[in-house]
């Protein structure tokens, strides 16, 4: 039983490691994309009045 | 293309013969490595004998790496005039490849006996097969080094990037060279043939593939 527990811990760690990696990647890309999009939107707001003038 | 390559090769060679900018520092570096191995692994002991092929090839690769890395570095520092000139990239690659092969062969010719002397391990008896092993290993490294050198020549931090690209790339060659040398020392001698074939295949493939692909580099 003790061995089984140890094995379960390894399984748990392996799955969590994968999830953490994917989570970090996704949040990183997500945040950066949002950041960039906001910058683009900000520039668009700046440009529109100028464009009409 | 071939004429341009030969011409470029002579240009580099005469530069090198006049200044000895590449060969001398690389050779000295190789000798220093041999000495440091001696310190680190207690040279002259029998213990060193089974490790000798690995130590020799790492020494050859590291010091060749210096020479190979410099071959394109010269162009980068000369303001990349050659790279802007209307010359086929294939020709540039061929000329650098020829130069690198020549330089690394000379380096190996100096370092191999030096390693043998300093570490107190006799070279294998099968001289011709050993020479073949050396040539195949060195040519492959020069080919891979020329390809990676050409690809990194226009980058920032070129000197830092090149080892990160080149050394993992040549790992099958290192395996082939070390194991072929091991076979010459009598460890699994039946494997010698397949290791030599592996190295020959590496040499052939990575001379041809860059040659075919480098025409695309001319377009940009």
């Amino acid at each position: 039983m003790a061995v089984e527990k140890q094995f379960l811990e390894y399984v748990f760690f392996a799955y969590s490691a994968v999830f953490i990696l994917i989570f970090l990647f996704v949040t990183n890309v997500w945040r950066r994309t949002r950041d960039l999009q906001q910058q683009v939107d900000a520039m668009r707001d700046d440009e529109e009045p100028e464009g009409e003038a | 293309m071939l004429r341009a390559a030969v011409w470029l090769f002579w240009k580099d060679l005469s530069l090198e013969l006049r200044g000895r900018e590449l060969l001398l520092p690389a050779a000295i570096f190789g000798l220093i490595i041999a000495m440091l191995y001696g310190f680190a692994f207690d040279g002259g002991q029998q213990v060193l004998r089974p490790m000798f092929p690995g130590l020799l090839w790492l020494g050859i690769f590291f010091s060749s790496f210096l020479a190979v890395g410099r071959a394109f570095g010269v162009e980068a520092e000369a303001g990349q005039q050659l790279l802007m000139a209307p010359i086929d990239r294939g020709a540039i690659f061929l000329s650098k490849l020829a130069l690198n092969i020549l330089l690394t062969l000379v380096l190996t010719a100096v370092l191999t006996p030096a390693f043998s002397l300093l570490l107190g391990v006799a070279l294998p008896h099968a001289t011709w097969l050993f020479l073949w092993t050396l040539v195949l290993g060195v040519v492959g490294f020069a080919a891979a080094g020329s390809a990676m050198g050409a690809l990194t020549v226009q980058t920032r931090l070129r000197e830092l990037l090149l080892p990160a690209l080149l050394l993992p790339f040549t790992s099958p060659l290192l395996l082939g060279a070390v194991n072929a040398t091991n076979a010459l020392y009598g460890k699994n001698p039946s494997q010698l043939g397949s290791w030599l074939w592996l190295m020959a295949a590496f040499d052939g493939i990575f001379t041809l593939v860059p040659l075919l692909l480098f025409e695309y580099l001319t377009e940009v």
């Binding site: 490691a17 990696l21 890309v29 960039l36 | 099958p172 699994n188 493939i205």
Partner: protein, 225 residues
């Protein structure tokens, strides 16, 4: 693409259930073999991503149109491939610790994966170190083609090398039951859909970045620089 994204989540949930609960224990392998499901799915997807990178790099060089878009996807697939390879290595090392007693063995597949990891990290480093976009595109595509050719050679050499040295373990001929097969396939598709989504997301991000850059340049132009 937007709808495919939501397919990934249920697949993952089902996959987790199948792999961790539904599939019965295999006595000979112990509980730790359940790592196998996520491990294999990741490994296959990683290989597919690298292959996608190869094909896209080929297209970058051969095709005249749509180079920018293709290049974006090539980079994204390399990044996702590295992510999946890292996950494969991480889960594989934990499994190896239990099954073989060491985190790292110089098993051919393991060693090849590690070298492949370094080669593709090099791809990203090369891209990062080049400023000119056109040059970066072509140079990194050429590099991608060359290293893709190198991977099978690495595998071959490592396998020969290992066949000489004492073998640390032998491949346990794992008999795959239908149940195990289903769990593996569900996990594989879950990972594959996730990878596609991530590639798409990453390429989209790069597109936004480029748009921002162009807008900045245009604005500077208007201001008279």
């Amino acid at each position: 693409m937007r709808y495919v994204r939501w397919l990934s989540l249920p697949l993952w949930v089902v996959g987790l259930y199948l792999a961790l609960i539904w599939v019965p224990d295999v006595r000979a392998l112990g509980v730790s073999y359940r790592i196998f499901y996520i491990h294999l799915g990741m490994a296959w997807t990683a290989l597919l991503a690298m292959t996608a990178n190869f094909v896209l790099s080929l297209l970058v060089l051969m095709r005249r149109k749509g180079k920018m878009e293709t290049d974006r996807f090539a980079q994204a697939s390399a990044e996702v491939g590295i992510l999946m390879t890292t996950a494969t290595l991480a889960s594989g090392m934990l499994w190896a610790r239990v099954a073989w007693g060491a985190f790292w063995t110089w098993d051919p597949r393991l060693t090849t994966t590690a070298i492949m990891w370094f080669l593709y990290i090099g791809y990203l480093l090369l891209r990062q170190a080049m400023d000119d976009e056109t040059k970066r595109r072509v140079y990194s595509a050429v590099y991608a083609l060359i290293i893709f050719v190198d991977v099978p050679i690495v595998y071959l050499s490592v396998r020969w090398w290992r066949s000489i040295h004492p073998v640390v373990f032998t491949d346990t001929g794992m008999n795959i039951t239908p149940q195990m097969f289903i769990a593996v396939m569900v996990f594989f598709f879950a990972t594959l859909v996730l990878a596609l989504d991530l590639i798409y997301l990453r390429a989209f991000q790069d597109k936004v970045r480029q748009e921002l850059q162009e807008r900045r340049a245009r604005r500077l132009g208007r201001l008279g620089y």
